[in-house]
Symmetry: none
Subunit: 402 residues, 2 copies
């Protein structure tokens, strides 16, 4: 039995509202010995007040030492064991551009590449062709490639990258990448490892043949490679495992896609955090659970810009009163992983997390930050435990056993 087997068994319904505010890449590191992290450096009067009222801790996204991508990071926050529900690269890519991957789909990531007149790769990324040139080519393939009995979707992504989805019953995804990882040789033929995947490989080969004819004459993008063949894992919904009607509010397609994978409804089309909170307020009566995603803490961390990440955290802090004004029964503030500016990338460090509810057991924390959270009442815990804690604090879990 894992934790979701328990929540599936024990959840009950009531009228409470749970809000999970996720500041992407929230956790950080000092940039000088003895210095503060980004969160500690930021002026966060509202988050500090929540820390004083609530209970704090440090969330381990996957396991100690493991740095998560956005996919596993969010699955963990949503309470799904990220080592059990592994989302393949192709599905993540399609999800990231807002494509709704279904149960009969095999999704893959493709690169445009440049071929010489012998069909050998001369540039694996087609000269990093700009999106405004590559997107029309992807759309053209989407219109023109026809494979009998199969729905083929070709979606632009960015520069040389695009996504392809084959839709038909019974397709496998155990197909090797066709990118030979070097130039001077042609792309590999798609090689399959089982019977359902041989069907996919045959479709992929046919797709390749048609595409190369359609791209003939293109100066840069006259070939393509295929990687990360994947099907969507079966993921039970929030309704099934928690009994929650859940809504997701996000600006970026990737996070909308991840939320959709667990059965959340994507609401609104906000472009800013302020607009996200508008959407939250507007839908307040319609859902039990709200996932609100704030991207820019991660973006500025990825840029390696400590001061800019501090500023994003302060923007995030500023909207807190609008959320608390809605009087959620349970408010969780966390991140899907750390993105320290010092590393200019995701990291393995635990993420400061707080939970505020009438019956949380407050600790001694009076500020929200990495060092303060070490002695918080939630301790250090794997992220998958956050949803059961939220449910419990919402009075939505019955006793286990008599």
């Amino acid at each position: 039995m894992d934790t979701q087997d328990l929540t599936r068994l024990l959840h009950v319904k009531n009228n409470t509202k749970i809000v999970m505010l996720v500041a992407d890449g929230l956790g950080g590191l000092p940039v000088e010995p003895g210095g503060p992290t980004e969160l500690e450096a930021a002026a966060t009067p509202n988050l500090d007040a929540l820390a004083a009222r609530g209970v704090s801790g440090l969330s381990i996204p996957i396991k100690p030492g493991i740095t998560p991508g956005s996919g596993p990071g969010h699955l963990g926050l949503f309470g799904y064991d990220p080592l059990k529900y592994v989302i393949g690269r192709g599905v993540l890519e399609a999800t990231g551009i807002g494509f709704h991957v279904g149960p009969d789909d095999v999704a893959l990531r493709c690169n445009f590449c440049t071929l010489d007149d012998q069909g050998r790769i001369t540039d694996r990324r087609a000269g990093r062709i700009p999106t405004e040139e590559s997107a029309p080519l992807a759309n053209m393939l989407n219109d023109k490639v026809k494979i009998p009995g199969i729905d083929v979707f070709v979606e632009p992504v960015k520069e040389h990258r695009f996504a392809v989805v084959f839709r038909a019953k019974g397709l496998g995804a155990a197909v090797d990448d066709t990118d030979p990882q070097k130039t001077g040789v042609p792309p590999l033929a798609p090689a399959a490892h089982d019977e359902p995947s041989r069907k996919t490989a045959k479709i992929a080969q046919e797709f390749y043949n048609q595409a190369v004819k359609l791209l003939a004459g293109q100066p840069k993008a006259n070939g393509l490679t295929m990687r990360g063949f994947a099907v969507k894992p079966h993921i039970p919904t929030y309704e099934e495992v928690y009994g929650l009607q859940a809504a997701a509010i996000a600006v970026y397609p990737m996070y909308k896609g991840l939320a959709k994978l667990v059965g959340m409804e994507i609401i609104g089309t906000p472009a800013t955090l302020e607009e996200e909170i508008d959407v939250l307020a507007g839908a307040w009566n319609d859902y039990d659970f709200f996932f609100v995603h704030f991207k820019y803490t991660d973006s500025r961390g990825e840029d390696g810009d400590f001061a800019a990440k501090v500023k994003m955290i302060e923007q995030f802090d500023a909207i807190v009163p609008r959320v608390t004004a809605l009087k959620p029964d349970v408010l969780v503030v966390t991140g899907d992983h750390s993105t320290p500016a010092a590393l200019a990338g995701h990291s393995w460090h635990p993420v400061p997390t707080l939970l505020v509810a009438d019956h949380c057991r407050p600790d001694g924390c009076t500020t929200f930050g990495e060092k303060a959270a070490i002695c918080g009442g939630l301790g250090q815990f794997e992220a998958v435990h956050l949803m059961p804690l939220a449910l419990a604090n919402a009075g939505r879990l019955e006793k286990f056993g008599a």
Copy 2:
């Protein structure tokens, strides 16, 4: 998927150096109410400085409340789930005396015993015969017992104890102990539980028959019992699961043997901790990872001698500057378990642990000790997570998922 499945998938190679300093049985207990533990009582300026620079925590060797032997304790530190990789007693005994147990070996622990003229045991430990008398008898058996098609190794251990290894293809180890656990009856016949083990039981019976003839006339050690039949579990190497070229530096055969089980190379023949650090410095360019084992913290704990253990911890502290002078990218200081002098034996208490690296997230700890580590940034964690943390801090793990 367990943590090693992740490290196997995610590890990359670089030029970093990781050092794991293990003070055996490091953790302790106060001997008077409100008093310090051994580590807290010791003057450890160098370890305290590391605690101030790095991140501290408490390592749970196996699971809370479980007291480990040296085998599981070290496997955990090495990142191998000690509940998955169970090393049988016979293999541990042979390993402990430096015998390299191979894939075709069944190893067992034997006791010399005293038999009366009816073949009934009168003393299960042969009067605790001293090693100088028992070792020649073991060596004699090693020379004289001959079983066609089987290599038989008989190795002295200590007092009435010796080790036996049968080497041949296809031997099982599901053979019951022959020690009846009481006197007045003869040793039991070796009873097997499956076909490959019946082969082993037959060999064991033949060994017994020849040995008893060879020991006839001995005043004390004229019989023997056999216990802990075991084969070496398949354990993947450090190279396989971490991509690390690993070296082990230890004085005692047991720890060399445990390190060899996970594929570390045993380097040098140091007799003191100072000499161990000489070996470390001399091999610095040849390996990625160094396990350095210090035995005497455990020994003095086992003696129940608080003051002597304090002194050993101070000796351990004194060599720290020689290690930091080598500038390891990641330095871990820990123990395989606690050995409180108050208990004169191994215990279940979590072990003070620290990790120093450029991108560890410092905490508020300024000393190295049990009480300080409670609020350390590593929190309380199972020992198996230490290796992934070390790898992450060495930049040797890629992101999991996109």
